[in-house]
Protein backbone atom coordinates (compact mmCIF):
# COMPACT_ATOMS: atom_id res chain seq x y z
CA UNK A 1 0.00 0.00 0.00
CA UNK A 2 2.09 2.94 -1.16
CA UNK A 3 1.10 6.18 0.59
CA UNK A 4 2.83 9.49 0.13
CA UNK A 5 3.99 11.44 3.14
CA UNK A 6 1.49 14.18 2.32
CA UNK A 7 -1.33 11.64 2.07
CA UNK A 8 -0.45 10.19 5.46
CA UNK A 9 -0.31 13.67 6.95
CA UNK A 10 -3.65 14.68 5.50
CA UNK A 11 -5.50 11.45 6.24
CA UNK A 12 -4.29 11.31 9.83
CA UNK A 13 -6.08 14.62 10.37
CA UNK A 14 -2.85 16.08 11.75
CA UNK A 15 -3.28 19.65 10.52
CA UNK A 16 -4.23 22.14 13.17
CA UNK A 17 -3.30 25.29 14.99
CA UNK A 18 -2.98 25.86 18.70
CA UNK A 19 -1.66 28.74 20.75
CA UNK A 20 -1.26 27.74 24.38
CA UNK A 21 -0.34 30.85 26.35
CA UNK A 22 -0.24 28.93 29.63
CA UNK A 23 2.06 26.08 28.57
CA UNK A 24 5.56 27.48 28.43
CA UNK A 25 8.52 26.09 26.55
CA UNK A 26 11.71 27.85 27.53
CA UNK A 27 9.66 30.81 28.73
CA UNK A 28 7.62 30.95 25.51
CA UNK A 29 4.05 29.75 24.92
CA UNK A 30 3.45 26.72 22.73
CA UNK A 31 2.50 27.53 19.16
CA UNK A 32 1.68 24.36 17.24
CA UNK A 33 0.76 23.83 13.60
CA UNK A 34 0.05 20.12 13.86
CA UNK A 35 -1.21 17.65 16.45
CA UNK A 36 1.07 15.73 18.78
CA UNK A 37 2.64 12.50 17.46
CA UNK A 38 0.38 10.31 19.55
CA UNK A 39 -2.84 11.80 18.23
CA UNK A 40 -1.51 11.73 14.65
CA UNK A 41 -0.95 7.99 15.03
CA UNK A 42 -4.41 7.55 16.50
CA UNK A 43 -5.82 9.44 13.54
CA UNK A 44 -4.04 7.06 11.16
CA UNK A 45 -5.53 4.06 12.90
CA UNK A 46 -9.02 5.43 12.96
CA UNK A 47 -9.12 6.86 9.46
CA UNK A 48 -7.05 4.35 7.50
CA UNK A 49 -7.70 1.18 9.43
CA UNK A 50 -4.00 0.68 10.03
CA UNK A 51 -3.38 -1.03 13.34
CA UNK A 52 -0.49 0.65 15.06
CA UNK A 53 1.13 -0.70 18.15
CA UNK A 54 1.98 2.16 20.49
CA UNK A 55 3.93 1.75 23.67
CA UNK A 56 5.23 4.07 26.34
CA UNK A 57 7.35 2.97 29.25
CA UNK A 58 7.60 3.96 32.88
CA UNK A 59 10.97 2.24 33.14
CA UNK A 60 13.63 3.41 30.67
CA UNK A 61 15.38 0.06 30.79
CA UNK A 62 12.20 -1.70 29.62
CA UNK A 63 11.85 0.84 26.83
CA UNK A 64 15.30 0.07 25.59
CA UNK A 65 14.77 -3.70 25.69
CA UNK A 66 11.50 -3.33 23.78
CA UNK A 67 13.19 -1.33 21.03
CA UNK A 68 16.08 -3.79 20.77
CA UNK A 69 13.69 -6.74 20.57
CA UNK A 70 11.66 -5.11 17.80
CA UNK A 71 14.80 -4.29 15.84
CA UNK A 72 16.01 -7.86 16.23
CA UNK A 73 12.71 -8.94 14.63
CA UNK A 74 13.59 -6.73 11.69
CA UNK A 75 10.91 -4.11 12.33
CA UNK A 76 11.08 -0.42 11.55
CA UNK A 77 10.15 1.44 14.70
CA UNK A 78 8.93 5.00 15.12
CA UNK A 79 10.09 6.82 18.24
CA UNK A 80 9.37 10.14 19.87
CA UNK A 81 12.42 11.94 21.27
CA UNK A 82 13.84 15.20 22.48
CA UNK A 83 15.95 17.10 19.95
CA UNK A 84 18.50 18.38 22.45
CA UNK A 85 20.00 15.03 23.37
CA UNK A 86 20.50 13.71 19.82
CA UNK A 87 24.22 14.08 19.12
CA UNK A 88 23.86 13.92 15.34
CA UNK A 89 21.94 17.20 15.34
CA UNK A 90 24.20 20.15 14.69
CA UNK A 91 24.84 22.32 17.73
CA UNK A 92 22.73 25.10 16.22
CA UNK A 93 19.60 22.96 16.05
CA UNK A 94 19.72 21.49 19.54
CA UNK A 95 16.92 22.91 21.65
CA UNK A 96 14.74 21.37 24.35
CA UNK A 97 11.90 20.28 22.09
CA UNK A 98 10.42 16.93 23.09
CA UNK A 99 7.94 16.09 20.33
CA UNK A 100 10.45 15.08 17.67
CA UNK A 101 9.92 11.88 15.70
CA UNK A 102 12.28 9.53 13.94
CA UNK A 103 12.48 5.96 12.66
CA UNK A 104 14.95 3.44 14.02
CA UNK A 105 15.73 0.73 11.47
CA UNK A 106 18.67 -1.17 12.93
CA UNK A 107 21.49 -1.49 15.39
CA UNK A 108 25.20 -1.89 14.73
CA UNK A 109 28.30 -1.63 16.94
CA UNK A 110 26.52 0.01 19.87
CA UNK A 111 24.75 2.50 17.62
CA UNK A 112 21.20 2.77 16.36
CA UNK A 113 20.64 3.30 12.65
CA UNK A 114 18.12 6.07 12.24
CA UNK A 115 16.14 7.74 9.51
CA UNK A 116 15.42 11.26 10.79
CA UNK A 117 12.96 13.40 8.82
CA UNK A 118 15.17 16.46 9.35
CA UNK A 119 18.08 14.92 7.50
CA UNK A 120 18.21 13.66 3.94
CA UNK A 121 20.70 10.88 4.71
CA UNK A 122 20.45 8.15 7.37
CA UNK A 123 22.20 8.91 10.65
CA UNK A 124 23.70 6.95 13.53
CA UNK A 125 23.21 7.52 17.23
CA UNK A 126 24.88 5.98 20.26
CA UNK A 127 22.56 3.69 22.20
CA UNK A 128 22.88 5.68 25.44
CA UNK A 129 22.20 9.00 23.67
CA UNK A 130 18.96 7.82 22.06
CA UNK A 131 17.98 6.37 25.40
CA UNK A 132 18.40 9.77 27.05
CA UNK A 133 16.52 11.51 24.23
CA UNK A 134 13.61 9.06 24.56
CA UNK A 135 13.25 9.38 28.30
CA UNK A 136 13.73 13.08 28.90
CA UNK A 137 11.03 14.47 31.18
CA UNK A 138 8.97 17.62 30.89
CA UNK A 139 6.47 19.28 28.55
CA UNK A 140 5.41 16.82 25.83
CA UNK A 141 7.69 14.19 27.39
CA UNK A 142 8.03 11.22 25.00
CA UNK A 143 8.01 8.58 27.77
CA UNK A 144 9.94 6.35 25.40
CA UNK A 145 7.03 6.23 22.93
CA UNK A 146 7.53 3.57 20.25
CA UNK A 147 5.14 2.78 17.43
CA UNK A 148 4.99 0.46 14.44
CA UNK A 149 2.28 -0.86 12.14
CA UNK A 150 0.81 -4.24 13.00
CA UNK A 151 -1.87 -4.57 10.39
CA UNK A 152 -2.12 -2.67 7.13
CA UNK A 153 -5.32 -2.91 5.07
CA UNK A 154 -4.96 -4.21 1.53
CA UNK A 155 -6.86 -1.29 0.04
CA UNK A 156 -8.13 2.06 1.15
CA UNK A 157 -11.55 3.39 0.22
CA UNK A 158 -10.35 6.86 -0.71
CA UNK A 159 -13.73 8.01 -2.00
CA UNK A 160 -15.20 7.65 1.48
CA UNK A 161 -12.23 8.43 3.68
CA UNK A 162 -10.85 11.55 2.00
CA UNK A 163 -14.04 13.65 2.19
CA UNK A 164 -14.70 12.47 5.74
CA UNK A 165 -11.27 13.35 7.11
CA UNK A 166 -11.08 16.66 5.25
CA UNK A 167 -14.45 17.73 6.60
CA UNK A 168 -13.38 16.78 10.09
CA UNK A 169 -10.17 18.76 9.85
CA UNK A 170 -11.97 21.79 8.40
CA UNK A 171 -14.62 21.63 11.10
CA UNK A 172 -12.04 21.42 13.84
CA UNK A 173 -10.16 24.41 12.47
CA UNK A 174 -13.28 26.48 11.95
CA UNK A 175 -15.74 25.52 14.65
CA UNK A 176 -13.71 24.84 17.72
CA UNK A 177 -15.24 25.81 21.04
CA UNK A 178 -11.78 26.57 22.40
CA UNK A 179 -10.64 30.16 21.80
CA UNK A 180 -7.00 29.15 21.43
CA UNK A 181 -7.34 26.41 18.81
CA UNK A 182 -7.94 26.49 15.08
CA UNK A 183 -8.68 29.81 13.38
CA UNK A 184 -9.64 31.28 16.75
CA UNK A 185 -6.18 30.34 17.98
CA UNK A 186 -4.54 32.21 15.11
CA UNK A 187 -6.68 35.26 15.92
CA UNK A 188 -5.80 34.94 19.62
CA UNK A 189 -2.12 34.92 18.71
CA UNK A 190 -2.63 37.98 16.51
CA UNK A 191 -4.31 39.68 19.46
CA UNK A 192 -1.36 38.87 21.67
CA UNK A 193 1.02 40.36 19.10
CA UNK A 194 -1.05 43.53 19.17
CA UNK A 195 -0.43 43.74 22.89
CA UNK A 196 3.31 43.10 22.73
CA UNK A 197 3.85 46.84 22.84
CA UNK A 198 3.31 46.69 26.60
CA UNK A 199 6.05 44.13 27.00
CA UNK A 200 9.76 44.53 27.32
CA UNK A 201 11.30 45.07 23.87
CA UNK A 202 13.64 42.10 24.11
CA UNK A 203 10.80 39.79 25.15
CA UNK A 204 8.62 41.09 22.33
CA UNK A 205 11.34 40.34 19.77
CA UNK A 206 11.97 36.89 21.23
CA UNK A 207 8.23 36.21 21.14
CA UNK A 208 8.04 37.03 17.43
CA UNK A 209 11.14 34.97 16.74
CA UNK A 210 9.63 32.07 18.65
CA UNK A 211 6.49 32.02 16.46
CA UNK A 212 8.60 31.98 13.30
CA UNK A 213 10.76 29.19 14.69
CA UNK A 214 7.74 27.05 15.49
CA UNK A 215 6.48 27.72 11.97
CA UNK A 216 9.66 27.12 9.98
CA UNK A 217 12.18 25.29 12.14
CA UNK A 218 9.87 22.60 13.45
CA UNK A 219 8.40 20.05 11.11
CA UNK A 220 8.32 19.15 7.49
CA UNK A 221 7.78 21.10 4.34
CA UNK A 222 7.73 24.69 5.61
CA UNK A 223 5.12 27.30 6.58
CA UNK A 224 3.76 25.32 9.48
CA UNK A 225 2.69 22.24 7.49
CA UNK A 226 0.37 24.28 5.24
CA UNK A 227 2.36 23.32 2.11
CA UNK A 228 2.33 19.61 2.86
CA UNK A 229 -1.42 19.90 3.42
CA UNK A 230 -1.84 21.71 0.10
CA UNK A 231 0.09 18.85 -1.50
CA UNK A 232 -2.33 16.41 0.14
CA UNK A 233 -5.35 18.34 -1.16
CA UNK A 234 -3.88 18.22 -4.65
CA UNK A 235 -3.25 14.49 -4.48
CA UNK A 236 -6.72 13.93 -3.06
CA UNK A 237 -8.10 16.06 -5.90
CA UNK A 238 -6.48 13.81 -8.50
CA UNK A 239 -7.59 10.62 -6.78
CA UNK A 240 -11.20 11.73 -6.62
CA UNK A 241 -11.02 13.84 -9.77
CA UNK A 242 -12.34 16.82 -7.85
CA UNK A 243 -11.86 20.33 -9.20
CA UNK A 244 -12.88 21.71 -5.84
CA UNK A 245 -10.08 19.91 -4.00
CA UNK A 246 -7.54 21.05 -6.60
CA UNK A 247 -8.81 24.58 -6.19
CA UNK A 248 -8.54 24.46 -2.40
CA UNK A 249 -5.01 23.11 -2.79
CA UNK A 250 -4.08 26.30 -4.66
CA UNK A 251 -5.77 28.34 -1.93
CA UNK A 252 -3.89 26.50 0.80
CA UNK A 253 -0.59 27.09 -1.03
CA UNK A 254 -1.37 30.78 -0.93
CA UNK A 255 -2.12 30.50 2.80
CA UNK A 256 1.34 28.96 3.30
CA UNK A 257 2.88 31.79 1.28
CA UNK A 258 1.10 34.30 3.50
CA UNK A 259 2.41 32.61 6.63
CA UNK A 260 5.87 33.05 5.13
CA UNK A 261 5.18 36.71 4.43
CA UNK A 262 4.23 37.06 8.08
CA UNK A 263 7.54 35.37 9.04
CA UNK A 264 9.48 37.76 6.83
CA UNK A 265 7.71 40.77 8.35
CA UNK A 266 8.44 39.48 11.84
CA UNK A 267 12.13 39.07 11.11
CA UNK A 268 12.30 42.58 9.67
CA UNK A 269 10.75 43.85 12.92
CA UNK A 270 13.25 41.84 14.97
CA UNK A 271 16.17 43.23 12.99
CA UNK A 272 14.86 46.80 13.22
CA UNK A 273 17.06 49.51 14.69
CA UNK A 274 16.80 50.33 18.38
CA UNK A 275 15.66 53.84 17.68
CA UNK A 276 12.68 52.66 15.63
CA UNK A 277 9.60 51.47 17.40
CA UNK A 278 8.26 48.04 16.46
CA UNK A 279 5.15 48.04 14.33
CA UNK A 280 3.07 45.46 16.16
CA UNK A 281 -0.22 46.58 14.70
CA UNK A 282 0.79 45.74 11.12
CA UNK A 283 2.02 42.35 12.27
CA UNK A 284 -1.27 41.79 14.03
CA UNK A 285 -3.20 42.80 10.92
CA UNK A 286 -1.07 40.53 8.74
CA UNK A 287 -1.73 37.55 10.96
CA UNK A 288 -5.44 38.34 11.05
CA UNK A 289 -5.51 38.32 7.27
CA UNK A 290 -3.68 34.97 7.29
CA UNK A 291 -6.38 33.65 9.62
CA UNK A 292 -9.07 34.93 7.28
CA UNK A 293 -7.44 33.36 4.21
CA UNK A 294 -7.08 30.04 6.01
CA UNK A 295 -10.67 30.17 7.25
CA UNK A 296 -11.82 30.69 3.65
CA UNK A 297 -10.22 27.39 2.64
CA UNK A 298 -12.01 25.47 5.37
CA UNK A 299 -15.31 27.19 4.63
CA UNK A 300 -15.03 26.21 0.99
CA UNK A 301 -14.29 22.63 1.99
CA UNK A 302 -17.28 22.49 4.32
CA UNK A 303 -19.79 24.19 2.08
CA UNK A 304 -19.30 21.94 -0.90
CA UNK A 305 -19.68 18.27 -1.61
CA UNK A 306 -16.27 16.67 -1.81
CA UNK A 307 -15.64 14.00 -4.40
Amino acid sequence: MPLSEAMVFGLSGALMFAYLPFVKLGGMPIVAYRSLPKSIIKGLQKNLGITMKMQTFSQPQKGREALDTLLAQGKLVGAQTSVFWLPYFPEEMRFHFNAHNLIVYGQENGEYLISDPVFAAPVRCEVSALQKARFVKGVMAPKGLLYYPQKIPAAIDYATIIPKVIRKTAKRMLKTPVPIAGIRGIRALAGKIGKLEREDRRYAKLFLGHIVRMQEEIGTGGAGFRFIYASFLQEAGSLLDSALLRETSVMMTSVGDQWREFALMSVKAIRGKKSRSLDFSSLKMKLESVAEAEAAVYRKLLENRLG
Binding site: G138, R213, F227
Partner: protein, 139 residues
Protein backbone atom coordinates in the same frame (compact mmCIF):
# COMPACT_ATOMS: atom_id res chain seq x y z
CA UNK B 1 5.45 28.27 -2.83
CA UNK B 2 6.88 27.76 -6.26
CA UNK B 3 9.86 25.47 -6.69
CA UNK B 4 12.05 28.24 -8.11
CA UNK B 5 11.25 30.42 -5.09
CA UNK B 6 12.38 27.86 -2.51
CA UNK B 7 15.20 29.66 -0.71
CA UNK B 8 18.68 28.23 -1.07
CA UNK B 9 20.56 30.50 1.31
CA UNK B 10 23.04 27.95 2.66
CA UNK B 11 22.21 29.04 6.16
CA UNK B 12 24.78 28.43 8.88
CA UNK B 13 22.28 26.93 11.33
CA UNK B 14 21.70 23.96 9.00
CA UNK B 15 25.41 23.12 9.23
CA UNK B 16 25.44 21.92 5.60
CA UNK B 17 22.25 19.92 6.01
CA UNK B 18 19.22 20.25 3.79
CA UNK B 19 15.55 20.18 4.66
CA UNK B 20 12.67 18.99 2.56
CA UNK B 21 10.27 21.69 1.34
CA UNK B 22 6.94 21.14 -0.38
CA UNK B 23 6.69 23.35 -3.44
CA UNK B 24 4.91 23.47 -6.79
CA UNK B 25 6.66 22.94 -10.14
CA UNK B 26 6.00 24.91 -13.34
CA UNK B 27 2.80 22.92 -13.90
CA UNK B 28 1.55 23.62 -10.40
CA UNK B 29 2.22 20.06 -9.31
CA UNK B 30 3.56 19.53 -5.80
CA UNK B 31 7.02 18.09 -5.34
CA UNK B 32 9.61 17.86 -2.59
CA UNK B 33 12.57 20.20 -2.95
CA UNK B 34 15.75 20.03 -0.85
CA UNK B 35 16.45 23.47 0.58
CA UNK B 36 19.72 24.69 2.05
CA UNK B 37 17.70 27.08 4.18
CA UNK B 38 15.93 30.44 4.34
CA UNK B 39 17.69 33.41 5.90
CA UNK B 40 14.50 34.23 7.80
CA UNK B 41 14.76 30.89 9.61
CA UNK B 42 18.47 31.45 10.19
CA UNK B 43 17.73 34.84 11.77
CA UNK B 44 15.27 33.45 14.32
CA UNK B 45 17.36 30.37 15.17
CA UNK B 46 20.37 32.61 15.73
CA UNK B 47 18.28 35.00 17.80
CA UNK B 48 17.29 32.12 20.08
CA UNK B 49 20.89 30.89 20.29
CA UNK B 50 22.12 34.40 21.14
CA UNK B 51 19.56 34.63 23.93
CA UNK B 52 20.73 31.29 25.36
CA UNK B 53 24.32 32.48 25.09
CA UNK B 54 23.42 35.73 26.87
CA UNK B 55 21.71 33.86 29.71
CA UNK B 56 24.73 31.55 30.09
CA UNK B 57 27.16 34.48 30.15
CA UNK B 58 25.10 36.37 32.69
CA UNK B 59 24.87 33.26 34.83
CA UNK B 60 28.62 32.74 34.51
CA UNK B 61 29.39 36.17 35.90
CA UNK B 62 26.87 35.80 38.70
CA UNK B 63 28.42 32.51 39.74
CA UNK B 64 31.96 33.77 39.45
CA UNK B 65 31.13 36.76 41.67
CA UNK B 66 29.78 34.35 44.30
CA UNK B 67 26.15 35.43 43.90
CA UNK B 68 24.92 32.08 42.62
CA UNK B 69 25.90 28.41 42.75
CA UNK B 70 27.49 26.55 39.82
CA UNK B 71 24.12 24.84 39.26
CA UNK B 72 22.76 28.18 38.06
CA UNK B 73 25.41 28.39 35.38
CA UNK B 74 25.20 24.75 34.27
CA UNK B 75 21.44 25.00 33.87
CA UNK B 76 21.74 27.86 31.38
CA UNK B 77 24.84 26.36 29.77
CA UNK B 78 22.68 23.33 28.91
CA UNK B 79 20.06 25.61 27.36
CA UNK B 80 17.60 25.00 30.18
CA UNK B 81 15.70 27.24 32.58
CA UNK B 82 14.31 26.54 36.09
CA UNK B 83 11.15 25.07 34.58
CA UNK B 84 12.88 22.62 32.24
CA UNK B 85 15.36 21.68 34.96
CA UNK B 86 12.51 21.10 37.40
CA UNK B 87 10.65 18.91 34.92
CA UNK B 88 13.72 16.89 34.02
CA UNK B 89 14.84 16.31 37.61
CA UNK B 90 11.47 16.10 39.35
CA UNK B 91 12.71 18.66 41.87
CA UNK B 92 10.32 21.53 42.64
CA UNK B 93 11.19 24.90 41.18
CA UNK B 94 11.30 26.59 44.59
CA UNK B 95 13.83 24.01 45.78
CA UNK B 96 15.93 24.48 42.67
CA UNK B 97 15.89 28.22 43.29
CA UNK B 98 17.15 27.61 46.82
CA UNK B 99 19.91 25.47 45.36
CA UNK B 100 21.04 28.49 43.38
CA UNK B 101 22.36 29.86 46.67
CA UNK B 102 26.04 28.91 46.94
CA UNK B 103 25.86 27.99 50.65
CA UNK B 104 22.77 25.78 50.19
CA UNK B 105 24.20 24.13 47.08
CA UNK B 106 27.48 23.30 48.83
CA UNK B 107 25.64 21.33 51.48
CA UNK B 108 23.45 19.18 49.23
CA UNK B 109 23.50 15.41 49.38
CA UNK B 110 25.26 13.20 46.85
CA UNK B 111 21.82 11.99 45.76
CA UNK B 112 20.60 15.45 44.80
CA UNK B 113 23.87 16.21 43.01
CA UNK B 114 23.41 13.03 41.01
CA UNK B 115 19.89 13.98 39.97
CA UNK B 116 21.09 17.32 38.69
CA UNK B 117 24.15 15.83 37.02
CA UNK B 118 22.07 13.19 35.26
CA UNK B 119 19.46 15.65 34.00
CA UNK B 120 22.19 17.96 32.74
CA UNK B 121 24.20 15.11 31.24
CA UNK B 122 27.39 16.07 33.09
CA UNK B 123 29.45 14.54 35.90
CA UNK B 124 28.97 15.56 39.53
CA UNK B 125 32.51 16.91 39.46
CA UNK B 126 31.67 19.20 36.54
CA UNK B 127 28.39 20.23 38.17
CA UNK B 128 30.14 21.51 41.29
CA UNK B 129 32.64 23.67 39.44
CA UNK B 130 32.42 26.76 37.31
CA UNK B 131 34.39 26.40 34.07
CA UNK B 132 36.71 29.24 33.15
CA UNK B 133 34.90 30.07 29.97
CA UNK B 134 31.23 30.22 29.04
CA UNK B 135 30.07 27.35 26.89
CA UNK B 136 26.41 27.39 25.93
CA UNK B 137 26.16 24.24 23.94
CA UNK B 138 24.82 20.77 23.77
CA UNK B 139 28.28 19.14 23.85
Amino acid sequence: MEQRKVPQHNISTYANNKKAMYATDENGKYCVVASSGWDVEEAVTKQALRELQRLASEAHSRVSSGEASPLYYHMYARRMDPQILSESTGIYKWRIKRHFKPAVFAGLSEKIYRRYAEALGISIETLCKLPERVNSSAE
